[in-house]
């Protein structure tokens, strides 16, 4: 019934990090979360050696990582929760970016906040429009249909004169400034740190030369999306998705309107993809059809699959792998696609749950292991092992 039962049965897990974490009192958890968030906000200012990117501006790279992280969270809803393989996710990202550019620069001068709202509305609508007819086709057909959708979006942008064709759109509006205070960065000489008062980031001033405020903005959006994601997944909707993914017919028989839930997942994925595209356009200031090639879709897919589809922390880790590592090791940039190909191949064959498997998969693995053990001991005629199936 479940995809995860394919994993080989192991001995029941001992107390894992996850279990210890679960045992922590609630205030302690909140403190850890806040500290973690603060650390994430401060990361580009700390500019830590070994982690910082020597050949590209670290703040800008961190923004890209955050943008990919957001995309991965969106695609995770579609692929990880609802089990729909979307190979054209770049289409939503592109539509979000273009909406901001078209109505903020080319054919209008709408204020930024309105642009973002418009961008997510249009991408969500396009998600519904694409999903309504296509979600009825078989799973692997859906992959090809969405692949076609992604290419069609790019080619339409490229060939439509009203959208400036290959020239793309410049002067995309930036988020409104809210300058409150300056924060200096650290510079490192080997492992000795200097506070560099010459290079300061203004909180929150969206300039050309400083990627960090954009990163902060994207990180804030990620945190909001994460909270919504947690609430959503543990709700009725999340359970409906899980049921649909694991066995669509059984879910339908139990009264889950699977099509409607799949469409909802598709629309929510589109929403987040569009949001990320809008942020991307605001940061670069330029949109161009050649950015939104199908390879980007595959990169997004790689982030979700490598990280662990269905686990929000896993897909964020995957986004870091996909967006950060090539910038950190730019000298190996040429081997990037090869490396992702190998990773996909290896993960699919040896660890289909990804680097950080979702808790459900871990739970199911443990349950399967205990079941196997019970059966084993039962057939051996011995007495039943103590301890039931840990939920």
């Amino acid at each position: 019934m479940s995809t995860s039962t394919t994993a080989p049965a192991r001995r029941p897990a001992r107390r894992t990090v996850g279990d210890r974490w679960a045992a922590l009192p609630r205030p302690a958890k909140i403190v850890v979360w806040v500290l973690l968030a603060l650390f994430c906000y401060a990361l580009p200012l700390l500019n830590p050696p070994l982690i910082s990117t020597p050949q590209s501006d670290f703040g800008s790279v961190m923004f890209t990582v955050a943008a990919y992280g957001l995309v991965a969270l969106g695609l995770n809803i579609v692929l990880g929760y609802a089990g729909l393989l979307d190979l054209g996710y770049v289409g939503f990202y592109a539509i979000g970016a273009y909406t901001v550019a078209v109505f903020g620069s080319l054919h209008g001068k709408l204020p930024f906040v309105l642009l973002v709202v418009l961008a997510v509305c249009i991408t969500t609508a396009s998600g519904l429009l694409l999903g309504a007819p296509t979600l009825r086709v078989r799973g692997d057909y859906l992959a090809i249909v969405t692949l076609g959708f992604g290419e069609i979006v790019r080619l339409v942008f490229l060939n439509t004169e009203w959208l400036n064709g290959a020239r793309g759109i410049t002067d995309v509006p930036r988020p409104p400034d809210l300058p409150l205070f300056d924060v200096p960065q650290l510079q490192w000489d080997g492992f000795v740190a200097y506070v560099d008062l010459g290079t300061q980031s203004t909180f929150m001033e969206f300039g050309l030369l400083d990627g960090i405020p954009y990163y902060w903005l994207a990180l804030t959006v990620i945190i909001v999306v994460l909270v919504a994601d947690v609430l959503l997944q543990s709700s009725r909707v999340g359970r409906a998705w899980e049921a649909t993914r694991e066995d669509e017919e059984a879910a339908e028989l139990n009264g889950v309107p699977t099509f409607r839930y799949k469409l909802l997942a598709f629309a929510m994925g589109a929403f987040i993809g569009g949001l990320s595209g809008a942020l991307y356009a605001a940061r670069t200031g330029v949109v161009n059809p050649e950015t939104f090639v199908i390879q980007l879709s595959v990169l997004f897919l790689a982030a979700v699959v490598i990280g662990g589809q269905g686990n929000r922390w896993g897909v964020l880790l995957g986004a870091v792998v996909v967006a950060y590592l090539p910038e950190r090791f730019r000298e190996f940039a040429e081997y990037r696609v090869l490396a992702f190909g190998l990773l996909l191949l290896l993960l699919a064959n040896f660890r289909p749950q990804g680097l950080l498997p979702p808790r459900r998969a871990r739970r199911a693995t443990a349950a399967a292991a205990e079941l196997a053990e019970l059966e084993h001991s039962g057939s051996a005629g011995g007495d039943t092992k103590e301890g039931g199936i840990r939920a």
């Binding site: 492992f191 670069t284 940039a333």
Partner: protein
């Protein structure tokens, strides 16, 4: 936790600096620092080090694709840049300069991080690049804001010069100079009455082809747009054949140009083929086959190397073992301007920018002098012809 607090470190004299004892104290210190010194810090980016004449580790950047699908072009240019820098460094008492590569892979979305990095690295005094028009749009505003001079050897989009970027210069004619020249060659020299104009929908190819269409006026007898990466051109060939055109102009790069040419000839269409500097590469001949490519005309806002005099071709061949590729000479010229500036003691970004603005000296490709928009003031467009599998200079196209 704080061991010393000093404001004038020798190695980085231009910045206020607070030294830390351990990296792990960073976060704590961060809060103190921003509480205490926010108002007091001013940007002391200017002067100071200039008096030294030759700053330690002085460098010029090269911004373009060094890996990825467009790496060939980027490496052609970078080789030209490196040659100019090495020749400069070899002079007695020269201020030693290095080349810092910024490998954009030709992707606009990588450009902002790299451009920021270049701006932040105060040792980078000037840049050659960005190589393509798309990444220029992302990176040039940053350079303009930072006052970092960027001389592009290959981005030919006319609109780039209209943004008011003080730091933008280019050493080759833009598409607005090449387009009318190509049209004039087709109608005057080739005496063509009906011209079929095709582009590849790219910013460069379509921009140029549109200018050619306008310049041709009534002689433009048909249009088509192909895609970069397209391989089957049978519908395009059918269109050319049906139009009865006596010349074809293709705006785009050499891969598609070569393939289209090959499929035209194999389908028995013998119409004269005219294309642009983006197709001026031996790859055109390779893709089309020497026999099919014979007689093809290539227009280019660049002087044939032998017309320029000097020893550039020989030097380049000696250094890299191959003849200069597309835009190698432009890369060399752009770097030469920066080197001349550094040699004249302009070792701050500000001084170097001022020097480039007033530069006026012969280069390999043309007289190097810029107008107020950063465009070269002296542009000659040449027609080249493919003969026996080689691209040879045909004639200068005089403005009509």
């Amino acid at each position: 936790m704080l061991r010393t607090v000093s404001t004038a470190q020798e190695d980085t004299p231009v910045r206020s600096i607070v030294k830390l004892a351990t990296p792990f104290a960073a976060a704590a210190l961060l809060l103190t620092a921003c509480g205490g010194t926010t108002g007091g810090s001013t940007d002391t980016e200017s002067s100071a080090g200039a008096a030294a004449g030759c700053p330690e580790g002085a460098s010029i950047g090269f911004f373009g694709a060094l890996t990825g699908p467009n790496a060939n072009l980027g490496n052609n240019i970078q080789n030209g840049v490196k040659l100019a820098v090495e020749q400069h460094n070899a002079k007695p008492d020269a201020c030693q300069v290095t080349v810092t590569p910024y490998d954009s892979q030709g992707l606009p979305d990588q450009a902002s991080g790299l451009a920021t990095q270049a701006v932040r690295d105060t040792k980078v005094l000037g840049l050659v690049g960005p190589a393509f028009s798309g990444e220029s749009k992302v990176a040039d505003p940053l350079f303009a804001e930072a006052g970092l001079v960027g001389i592009t050897p290959s981005a030919t989009n006319p609109a780039l010069a209209d943004n008011g970027w003080e730091t933008f210069f280019r050493v080759l004619g833009n598409d607005a100079s090449q387009g009318p020249a190509a049209a004039s060659y087709i109608t005057n020299t080739l005496q063509a009455k009906k011209v079929y104009v095709i582009d590849d929908a790219s910013e460069y190819g379509k921009g140029l082809a549109d200018i050619v269409r306008t310049s041709l006026g009534a002689a433009s007898a048909g249009n088509d747009t192909v895609q970069t990466g397209q391989t089957d051109f049978s519908a395009v060939v059918a269109g050319i054949r049906a139009s009865g055109a006596d010349a074809v102009f293709y705006g785009g790069y050499y891969s598609e140009a070569g393939l289209l040419l090959k499929q035209m000839r194999e389908a028995g269409v013998t119409t004269t083929f005219v294309t642009d500097d983006g197709a001026k590469d031996e790859g055109l001949v390779t893709a089309a086959g020497a026999a099919n490519a014979e007689g093809t005309i290539i227009t280019c806002p660049c002087l044939p190397p032998d017309k320029a005099g000097g020893t550039f071709v020989a030097d380049y061949t000696a250094a890299y073992g191959t003849a200069p590729g597309t835009y190698s000479a432009e890369g060399y010229d752009a770097a030469t301007i920066l080197m001349a500036g550094i040699e004249a003691g302009n070792t701050t970004r500000e001084d170097l920018l001022a020097f480039v603005k007033t530069y006026d000296a012969p280069g390999v490709t043309k007289q190097l002098k810029f107008d107020e928009k950063g465009e070269p003031s002296d542009v000659t467009v040449w027609a080249y012809k493919i003969e026996g599998g080689q691209i040879v200079a045909d004639q200068e196209i005089k403005a009509s």
